[in-house]
Structures are given as C-alpha cells and as structure tokens.
Amino acid sequence: MRFDTATAPHVTGHRDSAALMREVLLALVPGIAVNAWWFGPGVLAQILVASASALAAEACVCLARRRPPLATLADCSALLCAWLLALCVPPLAPWWVVATGSAFAIVVAKQLFGGLGANVFNPAMAGYAALLVSFPLHMTQWPQPGAAGLAEVWSAVLLAAPPPDTLTGATALDTVRTRLGLGEGLAQVYAAPAFGRAAGAGWEWVALAYLGGGLWLLGRGAIRWHIPVAMLLALAACAALFHLLDPQRYASPLFHLAAGASVLGAFFIATDPVTAAASPSGRLVFAAGVGALTYVIRTWGGYPDGVAFAVLLMNSAAPAIDHFTRPRVYGSGRDRR
C-alpha cells in the first residue's frame, strides 16, 4: 500500500492572506458609510471606478507577465489598494482622476516592483502622491457636508463636469494651513461654519468610524497594535508639544488625530505589512516616523495632508529599520548585529 507524501507540518493554523485582505475591506465599510452620509454618494462612485480600474490594470499586467490573472485578483490586494486610494480622493473628483491613480498604483507602484509582497512603496499612497502632484486642483476640492446628492455625483464624477464652487471647498486641514499662512489666529479659523467639534464638520465622525473598524481588526488579530498606536501617539505628541508652545499657531492634538487621514492611515495604510518594517520594535520605529513626519508635513509643508508622503518616506526607510531592529536570535551573543 502506498501513501501520499507531503512535507511537514501536516496541519495548519487556517490563516489566509486573501481572507485577511477581505477582513480589512470589511473593516472599511463603516468609515465608507459615514463618509457617504456626510459627503454624499460620491465616495461610492470613486470606489467603483477605482476598483474597476485597479482590477483591469492588475489583470492586464498578469496577462503580460503570463500569470493566471484570476488567481492574482482573488488575493483581493488590488481591490484593497483601490478602496484605500478612492477614500483619499475627493468624492466629486472626475472619474478619470481616480482611474488614473488606481492604474498607476497597480502598474507602477506594485507590479513593476514584482507584484504583491515585492513592492517597496505602499501602492495606494504612491497612487495618491502621483495624483496630488499631477492634478492638484482636482485633489483639493472637497464637497461641503450634505451638499452633494446623486445628481451632482452623476455630473461631477461620471460626466467629469466641474462641480459648482458653492458645493466644494478646502478641507479643514487645508483651511487651517492657508489661513494661518495669511496671519490669522486659530480661534478665527475655528469660528468658520465648516468647522465641527474637532476637525471640520463630518471629518471627526468619519475618523471615528475608521477607528471602530480598526479596533475590530485589532480584536480579530488581523493587524497588530504596534503601528496604529505608535503612529497616533507620535502625531499626538508632536501636536501637543507645539500646541503647548503656541496654541494660536499650532492646532491641538485632537484636531490632528481627527482631521484628514490620520486614523485611516494609522489602522489601514501604514499597517500594510509589505511596505512596513517587520519586527515589532521595527514597526514601532516605522510608525512613530510616520506620525512625526505627518505632523511636520501638515504643519510646515505645502500639501493638504501629510499622511501619504510620511508613509512613502518611511516605506523607503523600512529596510534600514528592519536591519537595525533585528531581534537577537536564540543562542547568539548580545553584542552581534
């Protein structure tokens, strides 16, 4: 009698990368829903367009590389990349903006580096950076809360007609930066009607929803605590330090945590394992770097948000961080490395 032969171990822990990706997608849903509630259904249109573009781009590259496209698409990594990018693009931006960014993210930032697992930079953030540099005007106009309905989305996103100026405006982060640049104090800026409790009407609720999804991921063990905690702590620490120095010029830690892509970045973007550092201590350093750089870029830089560039910069530092934070191997001397 012959038996089948296979290598050990003969049992497994039933974890699956595709299932992990699907869990992350699921965890994004509350944030997307709150986003759609405040800023209209534009975000859903962006997600649809980005997904279609990313999947098509991924399939094309797979065919060109003579790899089975369906197996690659099934890992859900392209879909996750598309969703993350779509959530960073203004909901009323014309469809070709997010389509271009999505295709760039998949083709250039991911597949040209070798595909899933081999890319150096977070594809979604690389796509966002490419869009921000190429189409700065389209990338900074966010709809006012409750202003955009289905009709506006249809004309602005799918027909690519520029939305009327009354519908859109700068984000809270952008406003603070611009008006501080004009010499105003923070108290005056906050008095503007677009500001909510912490970081611009609607934004804080979206951030809360992302936080809920992120905590769910943590609870399920899909992500580890190191990156979100270190990034948010570093951001809050930087903000607190400068806020204490001059509360009129530097916004509060709460504002920075609730504004822009802080929470989204901490739980969903910087946690991308492929482009982050690998060891727990390495991840703490990596994420602290992302948090600090986010604050620096937001406060002294020229872009509406700093998360994307902070993530990309720290991505490039990840191999070095990995090298210097290697854990001491069992049985080896303490002084090696």
């Binding site: 032969t5 050990a8 003969h10 049992v11 697992g117 063990g221 690998a278 060891s279 069992y330 049985g331």
Partner: protein, 517 residues
Amino acid sequence: MTRPPAFAPARPGRFDGGLRLTRPPLDACAHIAPAPLPERLFVALRQHAGQAGELRVRVGERVLLGQALTRARNPDELPVHAPASGHIEALGDIAAPHPGDLREPGVTLRPDGLDERAPDAVVGPAFREREPAHLQAALAALGVAGLGGAGFPTARKIAAAGERTLHTLVVNAAECEPYITCDEALILRDATGVVAGCEVLLHASGARRCLIAVEDDRPRAIGALREALAAADDRLELAVQPARYPAGGELQLLQALLGMEIPAGTRPVAAGVLCVNAATAHAAGRAVLHGEPSTTRMVTVTGHGVARPCNLLARLGTPVADLIATAGGYRDVRRLILGGPMMGVALPHDQVPVTRAVNCIIAAGDADLDTLPGEQPCIRCGECASVCPARLQPQVLFAAARVDDLEAARAADLEQCIECGCCAYVCPSHIPLLAHFRHARSAARESARAGTTAARARERFLAREARLEAQRRARDRQLAERETRLRDAPDAKPRVSEVRAAVARARRRRAERARGQ
C-alpha cells in the same frame, strides 16, 4: 468566516514564540499493551547518532534475546541487541523509516517465540555503590541511546561533560506535539520504572538534582509520577509546564525550566545540564537495574485512519504494518506519518521497521490533515517571526532560502532553526517554510562539508607547491654560490693542480673498489 486561532505572545519565564495546539479527540493511552511478536524483526545496525558497530553474527546462527548483534569498536559506535531469541535469516539492507524509500544495513531475525534470554551482567539495585563511570560503561554496553528522536548515546552524552560538573538532570516527558502520547503511556504503565531510571542517571551523571518535566494537560501522567516520586530520592522533582508547542524541544524546555539559553554551537552539558527523554531514563533504569539491553520502545499508533488508537510496547525492528494490524488495521487512511503532525515525515509505505527514533505513527485520515490552498507571495506579515521559538525572522530566511542564497541564510542564523514548523503553521500565504528551511539546512551542511574537503585539498596542494618551490630555490642558490665562488677565484679556469687532484681522487676510488672485490 472562521475566527483565526489566537497566538498568545511569549510570557516571561517561558520560551519565546510557540503555539497553543489542540489535541485530537483520540485517547491512545486508553489501550497500552506490548505489541505481539512479529513474524520477522528487521533490526537496523545503526540506531543512534554515530557509526554502526561491527557485526558479530552469521546467517543461520541462533541468537538469544538481548544478545549483542554488533560490537562497538570505539565510543562513536554503539551495539544493537537481539529483540527476541531466534535465527538470523539475512544480513544486508533493510527498509529504513525515511520519506525517501531509503534502505540501510540491518539484520533480519526470525523469532522462535521462546524469548530465551542471554545471561546479563546486572549492576542491580546497589548501583549507588558503584563508580559513575561503571554505570556509564554499562549503559554503553547495553546500547542505551536517546529515545526522544536524536538517538544520542546516553553514556557519551554524560561523558561529554568532561571535567565540568553537571548540576541538573532534566528528564523530558513534555510531549508537545499533538497525537504523540508514548511517554505518557510509558509513565502510566511503569512510572516507578521511569523514576528508578532517573535515580540511576542522577548517580551516573553526578548531577545534584533531577527535574521531570510534564505538560499540564496530562493529569494522569502527573498523578502517576507524583505517586512514584513519593517513595523516591528527594532530589527528584516534578516540573509541570504549561502545554504549549514546542515545550518539549530541548532548548525551549531549558529556557522555560531554568531560564537559561544554550549558546549557539554548544550542548546543554557544557552549561551543566544533562537533558534526556523520559523513555531514555526508563531504558537506562532497565539496563542498570535488570541488565536489560535497550531493545523495545513505546510507540503511539493513532490517527483517524486506524481502527483503535493505542500505545504499543514494540520490539525494535517490528514492522509498522504489524503495529497497525495490532491497532485494528486501517480505516480510510490517506497519509502515514512518522512522528507528530508538526514535524513528522510522511512514509511512502508501511513495510518499515520501528527504530529507536520512531515514537509515533499517525495513520492520518481526512480529519487529521489540512489541505492547504495554493501558495501565495510572502506579504511580510511577521506572524512567522512572532511564533518562532528561536526568535528568527523566517520571512528573511525564506527570501534567502528560496533563491538558494546560503550565505544570506547563514547570516540570518538558519543554523539556529529547530525545525518546529510553527512558522509554516501560521503562514497566511501557505508557504511551506519548514520544507524550505530543511532543504536549505541540508544544503548548507553539504556545502560546508564539501568546503572543508576542498579547503583541505587546497591546503595540501599549496603546501606541496611551497615545498617544491623551496627545494628549487635551495638548488638554485647552491648553483649560484658555486658559480660565484668559481667566478670570483683569481683564475676563472680550473687550475691544473685542481684537475690533477681530481684525477688522483678518481684513481684512488677506483683502486679501492678493485680491492674491495
């Protein structure tokens, strides 16, 4: 969506990484019995870490139970003994319990069922009055070697301590792999024997105390040991460990028990600790107290692919097929695993004999096996690193091993891998990491061996070249000296007187030779 199992991080006072694995719903300890005498025994000549001894039997010869079949000519060799009385049917290669269908030198014995015993030299219960060296010699003569897997000769292990004193004897009964219960079965069958073996080893090694490590999910074994320890030497102590894979790994057990880390490239005896398996201690006890050579071992026969999971006290050389038959035969079996589900090897067929290293046979049915979806790219999630007991970074090792970059793998401490398989177990991309690392480790050992041979040959070649060059130089120097001497002489041409003197010398020599004849 099934909830992934939780992987609790390491706590202080425990070993790093590891997994909490669930035991199968099979109780192989419900049935513990000696395996029936098979029709033929296939005894491998080499069942320990070292070289096989010299054969001392001929085909057709009758041997007695416990008679030595081979003789050790040096400490690297260890004798094997006849597991039953009977006739030698053949000498030559027998099937080896190996995934690659290998064969190895062995003796085919046809038992006669009489179990007539060879006279033994018994040390007996008064072993404490003998020198430890005497006990060590008895252990070596009776073929006692590790029954935990590596098969290191016990006497050689004690002797490796040399001048250093051993402070602790650790007896490992922590069977961390699910399914394996042979040590528990042995304890349930003969806890007193295990404890007596510990006392023997304590005296033979000169250690101050003995810790018997058992996992906390084996209440029956703990109870039996407690009872046996009540009447034993009070230097023996029970150390109950949390059940966590791989708690039974030697290095992990020492880390958890004593909080010590064994430096790379050294053995625990160098740190004053002697670590043996519980079954080895039992065999040492039988050898010293009863003069019994090590010819049996407890084997777990389990899995959903066998009718009645059980633990069988098998004679070394019993074919696996016979043990399966004793366990009620196959029932929807898919894979035959030698060892546990984490590290065990899959056997191509069941016509292989039990050797000292065979602790468990799993006739695995569908309920015992996981079918993995296809392999996906590594996403560097770091789960593997978080469960690695050696604190390695398997994702880095994998990147090196995949492209056969042995230098990079060495730099990432591939040699410290204990091949526990935790990394492959948790990998969400289903990468067969353990298979990659086993392959890379054997390739590295092979290249190191080839490297040493090549280096030695190169050294010899260079030495010869240098010697020839030195000779050539010396000759050249002599010639040059003579040339300058002659050239620097007042008259460059040989003088007439010199020529005459030479002619006279030649004549004298010729005349002497003529006289000699």
